[in-house]
Amino acid sequence: MAHPRQRQILTLALVTTAYKTGSHAPIRIERYLNMAIVSLKDVEKIYPLGKTKVRALGGVSFDIEKGDFVSIAGPSGSGKSTILNLIGCIDTASSGQVVINGVETSTLNDKQITNLRHEVLGFIFQSFNLIPVLSVYENVEFPLLLGKNPMSKQETKTWINYLIDAVGLDKWSTHKPNELSGGQRQRVAIARALATKPSIVMADEPTANLDSVTSEAIIDLMKKMNRELETTFIFSTHDQDIVNIADHVIRLQDGLVVQDYKPSNGTPEPASSDPTEQVVA
């Protein structure tokens, strides 16, 4: 049973998130007393492929706690990107529940879900996806221009410069993406993902297009930002070396969670979703 003060703070946080995203879905505080910032319950995703249907996810359930550095691992086609799309609210589940920061995403309309993405989520893409005509500074600032920005002009400038400095690109802030290396571009993407001070940052195979040294540097950077800003990082990867530094690993195979564990706890734990469909390593 949570302390009343803890319940009050959590309720306030959930109401604030619901207000910011415009959600009218009922707030179920009990579900979040364990501080799960992301919760998937029996999530299925089926893609139509001509006359047949392909089941990308088959009843996946897991929770991610705030501040976790989460690796969603698995081979190609295992459902990593599908899960990331669902958590990132850029795709919808065929069935089941996806709850982000206390908000049931299936109840939101397009405008509300866009607000949720803007306020709560940050994205780092495998192909960086920077706006080619904007400079490093402008790219990092860009998400703040897409919605309400609570910071003043000066605060914004200071914050953007801090982020650029934090990712080691202070000398490159006026350069365009095509003047940067792959690693530098991904650093810009990381800074951009953090610009709106999101609770969760999604990273879809962020090191796939980078060499091993740069990959390591990028992961270190994400880990650093995770520690400093207490931002939850969820990234998909099939690189075991990168999986090893995560403090929460969710391993997928054929659309099912086969491992869901925290390395700090020692041995991998069985998956929290339907145990009959999980393979415990």
Binding site: G88, R117, Q126, S127, N129, P143
Partner: protein, 488 residues
């Protein structure tokens, strides 16, 4: 700078080829609109000013007629004379908004001298005092003087004088006489001998208008058959005795079929003819008063009343409402110009159709180019949507690009069009043929930049931009944020 305009501007710079394709199309269409509309507006404004100032005044009053009638003889027959002329001018005299008016007759006749047909002339019969007061110095004299009230004579067209000299080697001078012959259905062919009072022509007259000569009204009434009876028959239906007795005198042909009856028992003998005395034609022909009445001209017979007024058509019709307005019509210069005005307005319509076609083609090309541009940027648009950009932001982003390119190149088009008009104004647009001379109102047109065409062009740019961006915008709005996750 707002991030939308920043992205729009930089994207246009980044994709120079695409920008140039769309931009040049927009600039071409806009410059065509500016040049075409300015030239045509100059033509119609010039034509209006020329007609109002030189030929028609602000409004024309005429009698109604079931068949097509025209102001200029070459374009058709004149309408019947104004039936209630004295009442109409009484009303015009009392109307506050009528500055001046003058009556006019219109006809066509051939000029002859010494049994040689010289030329066809379009004649306007005028009341000199009021005509030259309302149109002072419009008929520019190169020789001679203006007609005066009550004087019989002709102010001959300089063009005709020149043509006669070239074609017939005859030099017509002031004081010479010419025979003017006209034919009408009432009195048949009539010939009048007229002294040349003046030689000249209307300013910038071209085509048909340099053939107009001015004559005294009585002469033209005689040539066009505007006799008192004919006029009365139309306007008041005055009963006229048209019996043979009345027309040809007391000896009725029906009285007898004999030669004696026809010509009298002894035509020559009975006629009391004496070689010593003058022949008594009255006795021979009997009473000719009715015939005289038929041949007598009506001094109030006029085809038109040209009015200098601030009123519009409806306003003048209102002023005339107390009269028998059913038989009167009020026309503008455009009716007076007849087929010439129709030609100018048809040209404008044709140009507008061409512009509409160009606009449609431009919209299709711009739309296709933008759709390609959008499909090339699916990941970018998907990213914007994924990181929190609403659909409205994407819509505004596309619109900003379209409006930037259309406004930018639209202004280029306006500048090019304006410069071209300035150049045409400086060097003049030569009228290479008869129709152009008529349209231009002279041998050269110096077009002026039309402000309305500028506004029209700017409006057109916005419409083209908005319409052309509708489909690409809908394609962009259909881009899912998942597109950002597509591996490249």
């Amino acid at each position: 700078m707002n991030v939308l305009w920043k992205i729009a501007w930089r994207n246009l710079r980044e994709h120079k080829t695409k920008t140039l394709i769309i931009g040049l199309l927009v600039a071409f269409g806009v410059s065509l609109m500016v040049i075409g509309n300015s030239v045509l507006e100059s033509i119609t404004q010039g034509m209006e000013a020329s007609f109002v100032d030189n030929y028609t005044g602000d409004l024309i009053i005429r009698n109604t007629y079931d068949e097509p009638v025209a102001f200029i003889g070459a374009f058709g027959a004149a309408p019947p004379a104004i039936g209630s002329y004295t009442d109409v001018i009484g009303t015009l005299d009392d109307a506050a908004d009528v500055n001046a008016y003058t009556p006019l007759l219109s006809g066509i006749a051939s000029l002859n001298q010494d049994d040689e047909a010289l030329s066809i002339a379009m004649l306007w019969g005028i009341q000199p005092s009021s005509y030259f007061e309302m149109f002072p110095d419009k008929f520019r004299l190169s020789e001679g003087r203006e007609l005066t009230d009550g004087e019989t004579g002709i102010m001959l067209s300089q063009t005709i004088v020149d043509a006669v000299q070239i074609e017939h080697d005859i030099v017509l001078n002031i004081g010479d006489t010419v025979l003017v012959s006209g034919r009408n259905d009432i009195t048949g062919t009539k010939i009048r001998e007229l002294p040349i009072i003046g030689i000249g022509e209307y300013e910038n007259a071209a085509g048909i208008f340099d053939l107009i000569s001015l004559v005294d009204a009585s002469t033209l009434r005689a040539l066009t058959g505007l006799t008192a009876v004919q006029v009365d028959a139309i306007s008041t239906s005055t009963p006229v005795d048209t019996s043979e007795d009345a027309l040809f005198g007391g000896s009725s042909i029906s009285d007898a079929n004999s030669e004696d009856a026809l010509f009298g028992g002894g035509f020559v003998r009975d006629a009391d003819v004496s070689t010593d005395d003058a022949i008594d034609f009255d006795n021979i022909l009997g009473d000719t008063s009715v015939r005289d009445q038929f041949l007598a001209l009506d001094n109030n017979a006029w085809h038109f009343l040209l009015v200098d007024t601030n009123l519009r058509e409806g306003g003048l019709e209102q002023q005339l409402s107390g009269l028998d307005t059913a038989s009167l019509e009020v026309e503008t210069w455009r009716w007076g110009a007849g087929v010439l005005a129709d030609l100018a307005f048809n040209l404008q319509t044709t140009l507008n159709i061409i512009i509409v076609v160009i606009v449609i083609v431009a919209v299709i090309i711009i739309m296709n180019t933008l759709v390609i541009s959008v499909t090339e940027r699916l990941a970018e648009i998907g990213t914007i949507r994924a990181i929190g950009g609403q659909k409205g932001f994407v819509r505004r982003m596309i619109m900003s690009e379209v409006l930037t390119i259309t406004a930018l190149f639209g202004l280029v088009g306006i500048a090019v069009g304006s410069a071209t008009i300035g150049l045409l104004n400086a060097i003049g647009l030569p009228a290479s043929n008869f129709f152009l001379q008529v349209l231009f109102g002279g041998s050269t047109l110096r077009p002026l930049l039309s402000i309305s065409s500028l506004w029209l062009s700017l409006g057109g740019i916005v419409v083209v931009g908005v319409v052309a961006s509708l489909y690409p915008t809908s394609v962009a709005l259909g881009v899912s944020p998942v597109q950002a996750m597509q591996k490249r």
